[in-house]
């Protein structure tokens, strides 16, 4: 349960809101790099943290992210021409560079044009390619943090794959699904046996043999580690450990030698979010089969509606292609195909912003309770004292998930401290 004022505090991320200010402390995913695949490619409309923006890549390969609307008459620059190192409004020919600086106003006398241009600049944010993602920082330029160091974005290109999908609900209820380890045994049961990106791991046997796991939540510098333990044998526990780094990064514990999956949940506005889903292997290239499975929507990825909107093929307009016969047969637990859509179908059904004053949490929801509490504390510390929130420091980003077998008397945080940190050239700890 959460009081209404706290629910509002954590779910509203527009300009000037406390949670919006918190998100604006971080480099966050703005687009996939493939959306601006080449120089002078078409501009892309981007809505982030309730701000409407336009992204483009100019003739020199520089990326720009700026106010979507021309300073002149408020026309969307999505209709613009991306040419000769700038984005030109097709209404009257005003042109902007990647920093939002107006560089041409063709209707003005040549003698005055330059002086007038200097006075016109659209709000713009930096846009940087790291891995498969274009990252932006929407906060105070004087406080720009170091560039992100998430391992999935820093490994060689052939080791990693990232997709994104539009989810039609507030970012927080989507994130909470990612740290709610207890739903996996229900909603996603079935996937462990059949999904090409999960099946075959020894850990799956432990998962399926012990349906009464114990949970352990430990605070970290960047957020939380959420450990789930099951019986492995008489002397050992099987631990699956999920890191959450503020504000919205999670990584699923690995299975065997499969690539490791994870997510970022980024607010579009208060009723929609982007789910960035990644898969990577720390020490080897993804195989052709693995990459194809990801492109086909397996694992944490999904199929799309045609047209390039990044809206899932199974969405709320078609009841997520619910298959009651598959549900009855047990092919899937919920009747919805695929882990990503199993999650989004239920999370969107809660409504655009779930009313948390009515929920009835139980102790297995402790990860969610603690994540909310940490967000709430960080928002207040930033608002009241200007304290930099956890997760901005790149040291907090060098985390890994882990799946390990440990002696019963060993705390997971001690037993796999090294495994929970990025070690270049060393594989994820996985069973």
């Amino acid at each position: 349960m959460l009081k209404k004022e706290i629910n509002d505090l954590l779910t509203q991320t527009g300009p000037g809101t406390p949670m919006g200010d918190l998100f604006r402390q971080y480099w966050i995913p703005a687009l996939l790099a493939q959306e601006l695949e080449e120089n002078d490619s078409p501009p892309v409309r981007v809505k982030l943290l309730s701000e409407r923006l336009i992204a483009f890549r100019d003739s020199e390969g520089r990326y720009g992210l700026m106010d979507e609307f021309c300073a002149h008459r408020g026309v969307s620059l999505w209709f613009g021409r991306n040419e000769e190192s700038g984005l030109r409004c097709t209404y009257h020919g005003w042109k902007y560079d990647v920093n939002g600086q107006c560089v041409e106003i063709p209707s003005e006398p040549a003698e005055r044009e330059s002086a007038l241009c200097k006075k016109i600049k659209l709000r713009s944010y930096p846009l940087v390619k790291i891995g498969d993602v274009l990252w932006t920082y929407m906060g105070d330029p004087a406080q720009t943090p170091d560039l992100p160091e998430w391992e999935f974005a820093r490994v060689p290109a052939e080791n990693t794959f990232t997709s994104k999908r539009w989810q039609e609900c507030n970012w927080l209820q989507a994130l909470e699904g990612g740290i709610d380890s207890s739903h996996v045994s229900w909603l996603h049961s079935g996937g462990l046996k059949t999904d090409p990106l999960f099946k075959g791991a020894q850990g799956n046997k432990y998962n399926l043999a012990d349906l009464k796991p114990f949970f352990e939540v430990v605070e970290s510098d960047g957020g939380l580690f959420i450990g789930v333990r099951r019986n492995a044998d008489d002397d050992n526990y099987y631990w699956r450990i999920t890191p959450w780094v503020m504000p919205s990064f999670t990584m699923i514990p690995p299975r065997g030698d499969h690539p490791v999956h994870g997510h970022f949940w980024i607010p579009i506005d208060d009723e929609n979010c982007w789910v960035y889903s990644f898969d990577y292997h720390s020490t080897r290239a993804l195989t052709g089969t693995e990459r194809q499975a990801m492109l086909d929507g397996h694992g944490v990825h999904n199929e799309y509606e045609p047209g390039g909107s990044y809206r899932p093929l199974a969405n709320k307009d078609n009841d997520y292609l619910m298959d009651r016969a598959a549900q009855k047969r047990g092919d899937t637990y919920s009747g919805v195909k695929g882990i990503a859509i199993q999650d989004s179908s239920l999370q969107e059904s809660m409504g655009p912003i779930v009313d948390r004053t009515k929920e009835k949490l139980v102790s297995t929801d402790s990860g969610i309770i603690m994540a909310r509490r940490k967000l709430w504390r960080a928002v207040e510390a930033l608002r009241d004292d200007g304290v930099q929130p956890p997760g901005v420091d790149v040291a907090h980003q060098r985390v890994r998930s882990a799946a390990v077998v440990l002696p019963k008397d060993q705390a997971f945080i001690d037993g796999c401290r090294e495994a929970l940190e990025v070690q270049p050239g060393v594989k994820h700890a996985s069973v």
Binding site: E219, S363, M370
Partner: protein
């Protein structure tokens, strides 16, 4: 003449079905009624440090929904234990668990894990025998919490290691204690 197979597109779509059901407008029609349900929670401090915290928490009566705040006393024969209420009244663990839905154990830093481990074991076993959910909160303070974690781990289905003592009340509120 054959009857066309109905498809989703051909079915009449009410505002409360399919896509529109998840809109903010439709959320207004969710049944709104007061939450009168009671959750019978037992919060049990295992050591001296958390005993004081339990008494403080108990004093904020307006915050709680009937949860009992208790302090562990001693192990009794037969898998039972003596507890004390915040007011100091002795009660039996077995009688407190008779109507309990969840038990939250509190433990803090200690040099000797022995007493907390014994307390956690008897409570954990009693909860397991009655199919009651058991949780443990490790409360920070001066000194290491390893002993508290060790004491609680085998006996709590859910264990949370806190870095800020203020979070205890927030976690209990979220659980509607």
């Amino acid at each position: 003449m054959t009857t066309p197979t109905p498809t989703l597109a051909r079915q009449p779509t009410l505002a409360s079905s399919c896509a529109r059901a998840a809109t903010a407008a439709e959320a207004r029609f969710r049944i709104d009624y007061p939450d009168l349900s009671r959750r019978d929670s037992r919060v049990i401090a295992l050591d001296e440090r958390t005993a004081g915290l339990a008494r403080e928490l108990a004093a904020a009566t307006e915050r709680w929904r009937g949860g009992h705040f208790l302090v562990f006393g001693r192990v009794l024969p037969g898998g039972d234990a003596e507890l004390r209420t915040a007011a100091g009244e002795p009660v039996r663990l077995s009688s407190e668990l008779a109507d309990a839905d969840v038990v939250v154990m509190l433990a803090g830093p200690a040099d000797d894990p022995g007493p907390s481990a014994d307390a956690a074991a008897v409570i954990g076993d009693a909860c397991a025998a009655r199919f009651i959910m058991s949780a443990g909160l490790v409360v920070p303070g001066p000194g290491p919490v390893d002993a508290a974690v060790s004491a609680l781990r085998p006996n709590a289905m859910v264990l949370v290691v806190l870095q800020d003592g203020d979070d205890v009340a927030e976690v209990l509120s979220a659980l509607r204690v």
